[in-house]
Symmetry: C2
Subunit: 429 residues, 2 copies
């Protein structure tokens, strides 16, 4: 189909058709055995390796159009598909094939006084809608995770990647066919019209959950409009709290790593909280590390006094405590004690990841329990909050939500538990 002349009514019809097809395919996918799903994944990987030149050509079309439209360099980098990136996509699928299949696992089967035996079976969610930016690797990654978890998926990538996504969609369909699976288990939305997103997030009859992967602006729009539930990730305002019972070396190592290992990631520390009693010792040591990376320190009054000689010092404003810098900038605040740190965190954090540095057992336990974030750590860098580091084997996204899944979401996050009952003719008395 051509994509430029579709009006909004046709888009609605088109998306409804994708939805119906996805729902039908999801029923078939739910009962596919592990070997067949793995066969499809490996066949897609093979097709991607074989068609690397064609994929690069399609990507060149996208890149040329994006450059002409004035796309900024960082975005162009994510859109570009190198030979290395193509190989990584194929390896990613092979890795997903090696993961255990979560579907059909039965747990907690227990006999009840009535005689029935009750437990739970892990099952696919059904149809997953994934909305993401112009990053072709997400197309393959998301398709792979949905296939392995027995779901059907509708993929809506950034319009700047449309040529590459079309080419990838064909290879995914080839792999599904190869394994005897329905092609419509993975459908790439083949229009750049934004009305397609509006339709996708308002078809609860065909779509069971939306996983948005994109900037805060996209997510906030979806939150206003979606009637389909979402597994969503807003932002990462992560904190490290250095307790006065901290080991100084751990505090300095983690305080530096959590900020400077990578600036653009959501699990990067954005605010450092330091207990009053240890601040005069630890802040100068940390400053010696931060200065090597020219990190700007936005300090409260007390911290600024201690760090008055630091060359990249600024005063923190109230807005700093709720800003995700994604840059070599860190807000620094002195707090009276752990209770004050927890209060600050539960007020300002985006509930992503927080870490306490302490050698005190009771405080470590209290921090773990009382901080209301998806990941809470003791003596570890916030940068570990990641599906691969946690051993999930894969990651479809990170959730700031509380229902269903918190934190890194792997294959299991794309599944649900239903109750199963083994009876022997029991009736209710």
């Amino acid at each position: 189909m051509t994509t430029t002349h579709i009006n909004t009514n046709s888009i609605q019809d088109y998306m409804q058709t994708l939805g119906k097809q996805a729902r039908a395919a999801s029923r078939a996918m739910a009962k596919v055995d592990t070997a067949t799903k793995n066969q499809a994944l490996l066949a897609i990987a093979t097709a991607i390796r074989r068609e690397a030149p064609a994929l690069r050509a399609a990507n060149q079309l996208d890149l040329a159009a994006a450059k002409a439209a004035g796309m900024e360099v960082a975005m162009l980098d994510r859109l570009a598909l190198s030979d290395r990136a193509i190989a990584t996509m194929a390896e990613g699928l092979e890795q997903i094939a090696r993961l255990s299949d979560p579907i059909g696992e039965i747990s907690n089967m227990k006999y009840r006084p009535s005689g029935i035996q009750v437990g739970q079976m892990r099952v696919p969610l059904g149809v997953i809608g994934i909305i993401y930016e112009a990053r072709p690797n997400v197309t393959v990654d998301a398709a792979g995770l949905c296939i392995k978890s027995g779901n059907a998926t509708i993929l809506r990538g950034g319009s700047e990647a449309i040529n590459c996504n079309r080419a990838l969609a064909n290879l995914v369909k080839e792999g599904l066919r190869n394994a005897g699976l329905p092609e419509q288990a993975v459908q790439v939305v083949d229009t750049t019209d934004r009305a397609a997103v509006g339709a996708l997030i308002t078809m609860p009859e065909y779509v069971d959950v939306i996983v948005p992967r994109g900037g805060k602006g996209l997510i906030e729009r979806l939150m206003r409009e979606a009637t389909v539930p979402m597994i969503k990730h807003l932002d990462g305002i992560c904190h490290v709290y250095i307790d006065d019972k901290a080991d100084l070396q751990k505090a300095v190592d983690i305080g530096f790593n959590a900020k400077c290992h990578r600036y653009g990631t959501c699990n990067t520390m954005e605010t450092l909280l330091v207990a009053e009693a240890i601040a005069p010792q630890v802040l100068p040591l940390l400053a010696e590390r931060y200065v090597t990376e020219k990190v700007e320190l936005r300090c409260d009054q007390q911290a600024a006094q201690i760090l008055h000689a630091y060359p990249h010092l600024a005063m923190a404003h109230e807005t700093d405590w709720s800003t995700e810098y994604l840059a070599p900038i860190l807000s620094v605040k002195i707090v009276a004690d752990m209770a004050a740190a927890i209060e600050h965190i539960n007020h300002f954090s985006s509930k992503h990841t927080e870490s306490i540095i302490t050698e005190d057992y009771s405080r470590a336990m209290a921090f773990l329990r009382e901080v209301d974030s998806a990941s809470v750590m003791v003596n570890a860098s916030t940068r570990f909050a990641d599906g691969f580091e946690y051993g999930l084997g894969a990651e479809i996204g990170i959730s700031n939500d509380k229902l269903h899944a918190r934190g890194p979401v792997g294959l299991e996050g794309l599944t649900s538990l239903k109750y199963v009952v083994f009876g022997h003719g029991e009736i209710r008395q």
Copy 2:
């Protein structure tokens, strides 16, 4: 406060105030230890027993007003608070006190190659909004479950029970005070204005999840308007499929029990599917049982031929397959085989509970896997789909949703898992 002269703006403000107070109380509740929560539950039970006469008096006010307003008898029955019902409320709280505390449980702690140890901790959801009909016992039941699971709750019961709910709210607050817990952990919405519901379901900043307990009309309204996620129960169009490899006795016992044990419950069978090959044997046996209860059988063509002499026979219309009768009526359909039964179920069922009657191992396993409902059973009555029968110890509701919780929802459904990391100074390489 008086409840009759509040305008919509004031209602918004009032609900915002409740929301803020609930959020603050939820932080305190999340860290309360098990013994203290149990102390509060037992203190509320004591207060309820002590104040039985006052509760009955408040209930009399509600009943008189409801009768004057022409409430129908079935509703009046649910509104009425007998001495027995009051004792049952108190016993319910004592039972909740005896359940294990789900909060703080840490599971699956595993060492990762980086050196960190990662697992998950069970934590409260935060603030639960519960919207229900004029049934005072739900006020106490829901308050008890939320207290035990470390959540704060805002309760909005049917306006016809307002006097009784106010009286109960005071006793709940007394119990919370007695244990040193914040009174605002349980707040009863003290206005009968319907705008309060609209406000409650659109404050995601203060309310983490809505649990509606009411008719389909209420739920459908909430689905259109809510911006807070819901754990919702729509309806129960439950199926029993009698396979041609069924044991006849089990088929007849379960077919009768699933329909006739109680008519008004959501786990009651509404459609009976029978394999063609066994229908001539099993349907006449079942008819002998159904006739004793004057069950109307709405049959497809084939079933009607077999049951032509049945005194309460009717022809099924297409709408019957998607009707929840909640009455001594059953739709009956002959299907070619299990595949046809599963197709019918996955199309018409409300994804609540379905049961297969068969002695065939492979079919039993396939039915369990392929039927996409919250509870799937083999050789057991659908009437077992219930939090108490499943051993959850309590039930806040039943979920037809796929995200978060499916089927009967107990204490665990009011909790979530966050990741916890025990480190030793690890940084990300």
